[in-house]
Subunit: 368 residues, 2 copies
Amino acid sequence: MQSGNTIYIAIVGVGGVGRHVIAQLHLISKEYPNLRLCHISRSKKSLYAQDFEQPLPFDSWEHDLAQTGQDPLSLDGLLKYLASAPGKSVVVDNTSSSDVAAAYPMFLKQGISVVTPNKKAFSGSLELWKDIFNSVRSPSNPTGGYVYHESSVGAGLPIISTLKDLVDTGDEVARIEGVFSGTMSFLFNTFAPVQGNGGVWSDEVRRAKAAGFTEPDPREDLNGLDVARKLVILARISGLDIQNTSSFPVQSLIPKELESVKSADEFMEGLPRFDGTMASMRDDANAQGKVVRFVGSIDVKKAVLNVGIQTFDKSHPIAALKGSDNIISFYTKRYGSNPLIVQGGGAGGEVTAMGVTADLIKVIQRLS
Amino acid sequence: MQSGNTIYIAIVGVGGVGRHVIAQLHLISKEYPNLRLCHISRSKKSLYAQDFEQPLPFDSWEHDLAQTGQDPLSLDGLLKYLASAPGKSVVVDNTSSSDVAAAYPMFLKQGISVVTPNKKAFSGSLELWKDIFNSVRSPSNPTGGYVYHESSVGAGLPIISTLKDLVDTGDEVARIEGVFSGTMSFLFNTFAPVQGNGGVWSDEVRRAKAAGFTEPDPREDLNGLDVARKLVILARISGLDIQNTSSFPVQSLIPKELESVKSADEFMEGLPRFDGTMASMRDDANAQGKVVRFVGSIDVKKAVLNVGIQTFDKSHPIAALKGSDNIISFYTKRYGSNPLIVQGGGAGGEVTAMGVTADLIKVIQRLS
């Protein structure tokens, strides 16, 4: 009974995260022999087991998808397919698609669980958030599925699980503060280091872009929205009814004059004109023994969220961050004046996949 | 079905941790109405529901235990009692008793789950460790109970769950390092601060004792064994077969001459004679721009564990620790040169209870 239930896994999205999720699933399938991989899709192609008794292999999917992949199922089609499985099923959404996110309530209501690093569902409209969590299995809704989304904030770092444990056991979270973007972390750690002079802003952006630390269009990182989305998620878990990312101030590092230029290249060409502004902001902070960092903060008691540049003493843990690391501090009643801090790499396919797989293990354990 | 199972909770130990666990349980019982408190015991007295349909109240137990408490059940008696419950049950062991710890396999084999902050079972003999984890529910042992022990390292900080997620998803943990004792943290942060001169060693120990930051006999903190026990737990989760705390070097801060003095008072009287040794060690480090800290480390690849004083650059996160905080760094293949770090208060009744209650929620979710 408890350990024998077969569980069917449907993977949506096999990019930088999804392929690592499948590799990690392969590994855990030795520990959980009741796992079956039944569906893999990317934007244009999909593979699925016509016969649930003959699941997909964990190792040769890439070749099979290229050779024998069919047109992907619609989300409705995927729902019907999984509903016909002879056991419980889980959708692993590795995309950043709003369409897939909008379908979570539909899956959950059907008893199909969802595991995902996709921020869209949890940082989109408050209505979708409520629809998702009203559809989750609970004493009053015993037929719903489970939803886990650790990697939607800080990738594999234990951020969401920690906040939930604090809230669920009755601690009072007063404030959450930190560096939530690996890209912003990298840019500011090199542009305004604790020791030394730092570089030229547009050069740092160019270097980060070349190293793959930014989106192909760096404006998607510099507009602050990625950080804002993560704050919305943590604020809602803390109990605040935040409507969306437009409900609070988000500082964009895209100069007004470059907001509407058409291409990323054009943006990069124009950026050096604003190096002086960035440099003087950094130098002003430096004159006071401080550094500038791009942070997000939630004052839970006052229900105030904020995303933007702030200055920190050089001895502050946020100032001392390295590389593209994230750091998130939880100030709570129980932990008093010294916060509970989680720090480390908060981006990248492998560590994001780790958060997804660890969540999946928790779902498998609850369904087994 | 899934959400309807009634779950019976037996509390063993209602000291500084146990009373907070019951208060937190009271809170979560609103979310999990299928919870029933059926047994509470301390060393000399116990209360239990004769009729499982009439559970104990979450609020008036202290008065009831004092007024109507009976002789406690033996561990065998508790097993028989819980085995007769009309549903699944969980023992919450808030003691630091080796006897209770030795009984875990017996409970687990009977399908009774165990949640505990008690280090003894997990840092004792390797045989007991194996007996416990062979008795846990798994595909090959579908009738076993679950065991969760987050608070056995770092109290409510997410240390064990994080390490398990890393290991279970296939990351390679190379090294674990940190400050694992709140008492040692407090002593060294004040004795050898990053800025300023710091105090006299025996004065700091006296102050910490007076403030309740040490055990009544400070030798129980200064012998390094508390840190050694935590290392054994993390090393075993990392896959190392460590026999016990005698399997690796543990530096004791109890001077040889004071090891055999009879009372804590006599110890405190003798301690100032060793202030010079401690001060010169600190001053030597200071001359190199470093500070001394009492740390534990595990080199997982080489299977080398170590507990004792080490020196750290003043810019190192371990040097910058405040108050009685713990800090634990996980160096892994996926996280590369920058470790995953968890930091915060790692001792105290309320945060330890939080780890216990959060574990209990996970067990309830798996049993529901």
